[in-house]
């Protein structure tokens, strides 16, 4: 059950990666990369249940915080 869900989320991340490669503008690529980051965050939470390790949840929290700061700085930097 959980393997099928992880594989479906990875397939959707692979489909979103097409927009990162072939985006018309720069902000399309940033938005698609943000979407891929949130998908990998959920994959990390699901892997924590699959391997029965609680340390992956802390990694997921720090990953979400870094993703927020990352996209905000990119929007501030490329917006000018």
């Amino acid at each position: 059950m959980i393997e099928i869900i992880i594989i479906i989320i990875l397939i959707s991340a692979l489909l979103t990666f097409y927009r990162v490669i072939k985006g018309p503008t720069l902000f399309d690529r940033i938005a698609a990369a943000d979407s891929i980051g949130i998908m990998f965050l959920l994959v990390l939470v699901l892997l924590s249940i699959y391997f029965q390790r609680q340390i992956f949840i802390d990694v997921a929290i720090v990953y979400a915080l870094l993703l927020f700061v990352d996209v905000l700085i990119m929007a501030k930097f490329f917006g000018r």
Binding site: I5, T16, A32, L41, F68
Partner: protein, 124 residues
């Protein structure tokens, strides 16, 4: 996610329903990222649908796990996702609007632009 007691309770049923719902939303996000032809519609699907799918999957896992310190951390991720994803989406939309290089394309289906009619540059 594996059941140790063997029986199916109402919480496991709710957990399966929420997790499958969230996975469906993720797949819809991926298809819409390929199909939509405007930047603002892509940003719209990346904001709403992805946040809803993530909250749904995390709520499903909380229904599986029950009340513990594990579920508290998952609830922290839910609150963080709700707060931060609209902030980044708003920052990206504002940066893309005020950027001169990538303004709105000609064959876009955006028919109204309220922000350009305001004086002294809109919401600065």
């Amino acid at each position: 996610m594996e059941d140790k007691q063997g029986g199916i309770t109402i919480f496991k049923l709710l957990g399966y329903a929420f997790v499958i719902n969230g996975t469906f939303f993720f797949l819809v996000t991926a298809i819409a990222m390929l199909r939509f032809k405007d930047f603002y519609t892509r940003l719209h699907i990346g904001s709403k649908c992805l946040t809803g799918g993530g909250i749904s999957i995390l709520l499903g896992i909380i229904f599986f796990k029950g009340l513990s310190i594990y579920s508290l951390k998952l609830g922290l991720i839910i609150i963080f996702l709700v707060i931060t994803n609209p902030v980044t989406t708003h920052a990206l939309a504002r940066a893309s609007y005020y950027s001169k290089k990538s303004s709105i394309p000609k064959k876009s289906n955006l028919i109204r632009d309220d922000l350009s009619e305001k004086k002294n540059g809109g919401l600065l």
